[in-house]
Subunit: 273 residues, 2 copies
Amino acid sequence: MSDVRLRLDVAYDGSDFSGWAVQPERRTVQGELETALRRVFRLPAVSTTCAGRTDAGVHARGQVCHVDVPAETAEAVRSWEELTGRLARALPTDLRVRRVALAPPGFDARFGALWRRYAYRLCDEPAAADPLRRHEVVAWRRPLDVSRMNDAAPGLLGEHDFAAYCRPREGATTVRTLQELSWQRRPDRIVEARIVADAFCHNLVRALVGALIAVGEGRFDVGEPRRILDARTRDSRVLVVAPHGLTLEEVGYPADAELADQSRRTRTVRGPL
Amino acid sequence: MSDVRLRLDVAYDGSDFSGWAVQPERRTVQGELETALRRVFRLPAVSTTCAGRTDAGVHARGQVCHVDVPAETAEAVRSWEELTGRLARALPTDLRVRRVALAPPGFDARFGALWRRYAYRLCDEPAAADPLRRHEVVAWRRPLDVSRMNDAAPGLLGEHDFAAYCRPREGATTVRTLQELSWQRRPDRIVEARIVADAFCHNLVRALVGALIAVGEGRFDVGEPRRILDARTRDSRVLVVAPHGLTLEEVGYPADAELADQSRRTRTVRGPL
């Protein structure tokens, strides 16, 4: 009997995980998720693929993954809601599967994704400090000028080689398309970045945020983040900010009919895993 | 030299505190706060009074307290912002002083308060589960009918003897005025109660919430919470719900000119501490 593919929508508090990807001797999101899936499905092994392999300490509200299971395993599921409940009981409380369902034909959580949206959150005012949010909001001791940060951000939008802002990986391109990068001071005074790209290379969001924070503090002029981008080499003045301010909020996919095409296109552009 | 009174606006994640009030051998909010105040002010002892003595596990975003310090200690403060920063560094990260300033004449954090506003939060849908909020949102396994809960709530409003919903305390009245009690399902699907009263007796919010949850689940009819109130005796069917869903959000005080009058009125009605 053949395999069928399931789509899982996953949320986690990254504080106590060594990131997404399985590592020996470490508590990882993938490791805990696969343990729960093996137990609930009574399978000897399962292998998950996710849209955004988050680093240690990074959170997710909108992570998407897929897993292939034998068709008879999927057919034995009484209802997806009931399965979600069983997964909830098998998972630790810092990791939740919000939804699980049969994936549409051609679905690939990683290569089928059109875009990933991240948020980065900071609190630069003691009066706005919220201890209940301290795991996902970085306390910043100097005041940030959000309007300056928004003046600097558009210079980074579009398709670029982001080598200056990435930790390079052998044989992988650092060309990405940054679709959105904007800052707001929310009504509760939290400073929040919204960052959307087709995909992100390693450390990219946290380095971009670091460069824009330098603008917000007045250490960089508004044109500096773009000049650093154009130089295409890493700049030691750019701080890679703390992971716990970062949350993967949403992953976008094309309409079901386009899924297979999108996966093929992505594989061609970005090369094999 | 005489003492001067400071007002402190305080927020905390109650998860790791044995409640507000100092207890020997326990980590409490008051204990940690007074330790930080002693250190920052270099005083041998300080004594704080708060508006709402929260139980173990209960959070606060809008707790208010006062502390009396020698006038020369207050005069040595260069700026209240700078003092807030020093307190932030002296406090653990789950406890923040958002603001500290000279209290207006006649201010008393406890007896001067006109009302306390609490929120209680539940998540009854796996699809809305947010692990980053698990410390302040109670996961509820059965679906809640918010509209039924809102039908039952008005029957509890007004001045009543809330003995049926309180853990009694020797010599203290259980008469309170419940000013607001309403439920909403927020855009993120979290079920949230907004509860305002002149003051709360012990366990009152959590017992009222427990009774209304029974209505939301269909175990109680809409009139039952009021019938229990009128019986004036504790009812074992009313669950005192978990503390971690509860947050003290705000405390209201009269205009500065009325402060002394309000404190006098409250002391008369509720008797000595």
